[in-house]
Amino acid sequence: MPSIKRNQIAAMNIHWKLYPFEDFLKTQQQLGVKTIEFWATAPHFLVDEYGYQENYREVRKMIEEQYGLKVGAFTPECACFPYQIASWDKGLWERSIEYYKNGLECASLFGAKIEQITCCGGAWDQEPEYAFERAVEALRILGPAAADNGVTLTVETVRPEESNVVTTLPELKRLLKAVDHPNVKAAVDTCAMGVANETLEEWFDCLGSDIRHMHFIDGRPYGHLIWGEGLHPLDDYIETLNRNHYEGYLGQELTVVDYWFDPAQTDRKNMQAFAPYIKD
């Protein structure tokens, strides 16, 4: 039977935006979760190009001591906010670099080894290659900053509706080669992967141990769904993880609006799907 370790499951607070952060932590503790992928934005944790929330020590203390959780990955919001490393707007591009640098510092302050990022912001009326170059240039600056903080920056692909670059595995491979920094690696997002008609096998065949993080969720293939609501065979996926000795985190990035209103119930159902595979 394929298996995962309990601490590989990294619960995310992305669908908890209508509730206080502590409610999220409380639920994860009740569900036996050990790790979180900290989605950092209002109303849970403020980070921007100028800095980050000053009480980070208390927040970390609450996460670890009060609720027995650990921050595995730190993920500053990168889909909705005006921070995009492939942007045509020079000012925005520069601010984005500062934003993600602050994210790297936060990751380190929370004891996380991963900061998750996307390559968005290219304009549809411009050459995709221009956006690709902007992303490469930004990651060349962020790579050394990641190293300084002892953090690996993991780049995931996104759906072609979100960006005109880095939406497929070959493009991500090309990006990583162009950046060529040991602290800039890959993340699988099973939604983007499915939308691009790619398989988990292909990702491991292509990138192997350069895959350092995952948004491991169900999908049809669109949607960031709890396991059981989509079309992906969880059993086979976990077997693929095992065969490729993947020991990184499985971030639970659940983004369906319906999940926002009762996120605890959403997480409970999702954890039930994982339960048979958890081997501590």
Binding site: L46, G91, A123
Partner: protein, 278 residues
Amino acid sequence: MKYFAKERISNFNIHYDLYSLDYFLDCTQKLGLKNVELLSGGKGLYFDYKGFSDPKPVRRKLEQRGLSCRVISPHNCDYQYQFAAKDEVLRERSYEFFANGMRFGAELGAKVMQANSGWGFWNEDQEEAMKRSAEMHQRLCELGDQLDVTIACETLRPQESKLAWNLEGLKKLFDMVDHPRFKVMVDITAMAVAGETVQQWFDTFGTENIIHTHFQDCDPYGHRVWGDGNQNLNDLLKAFKDNQYEGLFSQELTVRDYYADPYHHDKRNITVLDQYFY
């Protein structure tokens, strides 16, 4: 039947998110429109809680194309900032963000800032959240007095907020803010979701207090091109006409499928609207 002059239609850059500002403005000009509402705070139209980018290049881009920005719409649903934030730091930053949005808008010539009630946590006392929203809007109204900018507050869908998601909630907020710079606007989608009519809005607030609309088709959810929903365009426009509405009809289109080729969908939309605008 043609009810209003075509210049009353305002294009909105929300579905041009994947394109540059120049492209949006060029397309708007080609559509024969004169007014834009600008969703702002991000690329090309940057401001945040510490300041704002130089508005001159944007003003020039508008002037070159014979366009006016009469309504500024700082990101108020998807960025960090919102009108009823609980956390004190976030509340102050939200105020400064919207204040800078108002200043940025004023620099572009906008007389209206689009807004909503914001939202509290789902499991907190909503009265407290409503008070925070009212206080925030009162502060922004004072700045509005200095800048000659008026707030136009729309309702949200009940999935977005437990505060002003219907007429009753918005009327409550309107009375609490109680400031001549605080007015309201109809969002056809939120109105339809709440099961309300245009006439109920005018009966509740009066013509003088309804200064703007997000005027798009819906079913009742969605912010769609006219024809992609199920609303009665003629009856809606007639209701606005009967009530001597003087504001704009802003096309807030948020269906993700439109984003890849927004101009194509704008052309479809304007073709339908042209039958009712002279």
